[in-house]
């Protein structure tokens, strides 16, 4: 039995990152008593005053504001018949912790998927001949239309002060933007960031070759901005410490800079930090939750009663809490029954590094989102069906940070000794990258469940991830490689290195890709094959809502944050307008 029971609240929010903060302000503004529980520490903006974050070793190498594997590891295996092993050090991905979550130290690329991406199954059924795609592929449509979700993207763009070039305004393609973007109801709130040298070199070459580059849509704001909640952002000063760092200039949209400063002033909102939620407590009939139990910083078990439970921790932490709490039926890949854990997907990256001995890229002078990209190679916009795979990628030249630890040197440079040292002197600041960020489909055998052997420091089982590359994703990589190398050669670098997956590659958990893990508790139209309905409400326990990347049925080439913001805002709207009046399932199964 818990030692302590807190006062009742209307809404308890588990995890105070982007999704939790959006839910907090939306529901607090509706007059509800809201309490957020965050497993990590508080991260007030004064901790990140200039020049504290300007420390590559502390923040980017030692992961100062991330969750530790010690506390938050999961286990990984490639196939169902293998014994999974723990992620003892972070590699391919690194989740955040603490107030703001990963939203505190993300790069700030805020881009929407295309209308085809959100209806991928419909597209695949139309464009691909039956039997041409992997029989185990389990891609699905998102359970809403473009017109239904667009207003929420639009609002989140304004929350973040999205900076960039409009590509499609109410159906009219605009010069300088992404011609493949879905129609937007309003232009980008702010103009694009300044291009750096790598951006203009890449964009000029790509344009000459017939592609349609545009500036990376950025939540590092190009000009001063006051958002709809009244929070203010300052123009980005291109400090060069962005991806993996908290912003030292109040320029990167984060829960802190765009929401928390406002909601913290509301008397009906409160939050607890170092509060590690270990389960959602259900009523006897298991149809509703009565609250959550957490371990506080003194190690005491605390029960927090609540009428509504929002699970808004990181993607895999949400799935794990559902499994630990018995919310929904665990997925079984053999019988393909159960829903919690299914449709897990990651993503791949890769690219070329181009070295120019006579160029100064000044990589330290950059915003996190600085870059140019094109979307020509996205589903429906190129001839994927004749190539035998489905998917695509953002192809981009970004310059998220330019601090020197980990500097790439030309092939053949020794990894230590005089050669390495002189390589650093000769080549630091003289290279740029052309990269791919790919889609990743979902498959019957890729899923999440609880590990039978390994436990966290609180004695609870780790989440187990079963995942590997499939032929579809590897073929896509090989196709993208040809495009990237063609562009790279056109730019005539003095030296070049490349990094793409081979057709026999296994997923390498040691190489950072991106913390864009998705799926596991997906939104859908039926409780048979999805854990959540379109309002992110559990089909099984109707007062539990689970916003996050966990809701995506597969990964598109766009970064996930814009969509996490949009689906969370759509869910908050449904809670305010429908659920409060009539608590119960918002969609009839």
């Amino acid at each position: 039995m818990p030692h302590i029971t807190n006062d009742d609240v209307d809404v308890v929010i588990v995890g105070l990152g982007w999704a939790g903060s959006l839910m907090a302000i939306e529901l607090a503004q509706a007059g509800l008593k809201v309490r957020a529980l965050e497993r990590g520490p508080d991260r007030p903006p004064e901790d990140f005053a200039y020049p504290k974050p300007a420390d590559q070793y502390g923040y980017a190498t030692r992961n100062k504001v991330f969750a530790t594997p010690r506390d938050a590891a999961l286990t990984v295996r490639y196939k169902q018949d293998e014994t999974a092993l723990p992620t003892r050090k972070w590699g391919a991905f690194a989740p955040g912790t603490g107030v703001g979550g990963s939203g505190l130290h993300w790069t700030g690329v805020l881009i929407r998927p295309t209308p085809t991406d959100i209806k991928l199954k419909t597209y695949a059924d139309k464009a691909y001949k039956r039997g041409t795609l992997d029989a185990d592929m389990r891609i699905k449509d998102f359970p809403f239309t473009w017109d239904e979700i667009e207003p929420y993207y639009d609002f989140f763009d304004k929350v973040c002060g999205l900076s960039g070039n409009t590509g499609n305004l109410r159906g009219q393609v605009q010069p300088g933007g992404d011609p493949f973007e879905g129609p937007r109801s309003n232009p980008y709130p702010l103009p694009a960031l300044q291009d750096t040298l790598n951006c203009s070199m890449f964009a000029d070459t790509a344009r000459k070759m017939g592609y349609h580059p545009f500036p990376n849509p950025s939540a590092n704001v190009s000009q001063a901005w006051t958002n709809p909640y009244g929070a203010q952002l300052a123009p980005c000063n291109y400090c060069g410490y962005c991806s993996k760092y908290p912003c030292l200039n109040y320029s990167k949209a984060s829960p802190q800079t765009t929401i928390l400063d406002v909601v913290k002033r509301m008397p009906n909102f409160s939050y607890r930090v170092n509060a590690n939620v270990i389960r959602v407590d259900l009523h006897k009939d298991r149809k509703t939750a009565r609250g959550v139990t957490y371990i506080d910083e003194q190690g005491k078990e605390v029960f927090q009663p609540a009428k509504i439970v929002v699970l808004s921790s990181f993607q895999f932490a949400n799935v794990r809490l559902m499994l630990l709490s018995g919310i929904g039926k665990p997925y079984d890949p053999i019988s393909e029954t159960g829903t919690v854990g299914r449709n897990y997907a990651f993503l791949s990256n890769g690219g070329a590094t181009l070295f120019f001995k006579d160029k100064h890229f000044n990589p330290f002078a950059t915003a996190g989102a600085t870059g140019e990209m094109f979307n020509d190679i996205s589903p429906g916009n190129f001839d994927g069906p004749s190539l035998g795979f489905i998917g695509g990628a953002k192809i981009h030249s970004s310059q998220a940070t330019g601090a020197p630890i980990g500097t790439a040197l030309p092939p053949g440079t020794p990894s230590w000794g005089k050669g390495w040292k002189e390589g650093m002197v000769d080549w630091y600041g003289r290279s740029m990258k052309i990269s791919i960020t790919t889609t990743c489909m979902s498959y019957r055998g890729h899923y999440l469940d609880l590990d039978p052997r390994y436990k966290d420091p609180w004695g609870q089982p780790l989440l187990r991830m079963t995942f590997d590359w499939r032929e579809n994703e590897l073929k896509l990589q090989r196709y993208l490689r040809e495009i990237v190398l063609k562009i790279s050669k056109e730019m005539k670098p003095d030296a070049m290195s490349e990094s793409f997956l081979a057709l026999d590659s296994h997923w390498d958990i040691t190489k950072y890709v991106s913390t864009h893990n998705v799926g596991g508790a997906i939104m859908g139209t039926s409780p048979r094959d999805s854990a959540l309905n379109r309002y992110l409400q559990s089909w099984d326990v109707h007062n539990v809502f689970v916003p996050g990347g966990n809701a995506f049925p597969q990964n598109f080439q766009a970064n996930p944050t814009a969509t996490i913001g949009a689906i969370t805002l759509m869910a908050a709207d449904a809670i305010k307008k429908q659920y409060l009046k009539n608590p119960g399932p918002l969609v009839q199964a």
Partner: protein
């Protein structure tokens, strides 16, 4: 900027025979910060005296003094490694067993050792290998012999298992040591390495300036200002 002349060979010779005379207590280092430490006067807080001799000698080959740019000793890289190991490097690792050390490399780090153990065991094993091959400890080998032994570690042609080690491979120790050496060379000086920001000066990195709003659109123009550190020093 100018720096006092630093005689690497004399220093290595002197420290090879004796523990540094003018040891600075740790609390004093913390009070003053690690940026003003002199390597010759530094008393290690993690490494034993014999281990310290190895670290000094190995760092001196991994980033040597010869050629363009400062070496690891001139930039206090050993101080950085020693302080990191004492200061909790690796305390974020998930270390619960069971450990499967034969797992594919792509499944990542599976050793039962925190970095502190990797160094303790690794140094002892390298010294065994050096003694077996040359009848001398690593720090007394010629630069060529040291480079050859480090290369053998990197390529796993030194067999730690044959020396009785059950988990750690030579290449794993080497990559921990090399990674920490490079980190110490390029990190902010507050951590004890990159003394006087000499590595940043050599490569042209402005450090913690972190403000380039008037510079970002000046394409292909070398940045004119030297680095500053988080503590506000300039070089």
């Amino acid at each position: 900027m100018s720096t006092p002349p630093f005689s690497r060979r004399n220093f290595l010779k002197a420290t090879a025979v004796a523990v540094p005379v003018a040891a600075i207590p740790l609390h004093e280092l913390r009070a003053k910060g690690l940026e003003d430490v002199h390597l010759q006067h530094y008393q290690p807080v993690f490494f034993s005296a014999p281990e310290w001799q190895f670290i000094l000698a190995a760092c001196d080959r991994l980033i040597p003094a010869e050629g363009k740019g400062p070496g690891a000793l001139e930039t206090n890289v050993p101080v950085f490694i020693d302080q990191q190991l004492k200061g909790g490097l690796g305390n974020d690792i998930y270390l619960q067993g069971p450990h499967n050390i034969t797992a594919p490399k792509t499944l990542g780090f599976q050793l039962p050792y925190a970095p502190q153990n990797v160094y303790r065991r690794g140094i002892a094993l390298v010294q065994q290998a050096a003694n077996a091959r040359h009848a001398k400890p690593f720090q007394q080998l010629s630069a060529q012999e040291q480079d050859a032994l480090l290369t053998a570690l990197q390529k796993d042609t030194v067999d730690f298992a044959a020396l009785g080690e059950t988990s750690l491979k030579a290449s794993q120790f080497f990559s921990q040591l090399l990674g920490d050496t490079k980190n110490g060379y390029l990190a902010d000086p507050m951590y004890g390495g990159n003394k006087d920001m000499k590595a940043w000066v050599a490569i042209g990195f402005p450090g913690a300036r972190a403000q380039y709003i008037e510079w970002v659109d000046q394409h292909n123009v070398p940045y004119p200002l030297g680095p500053v550190s988080v503590s506000g020093k300039r070089a």
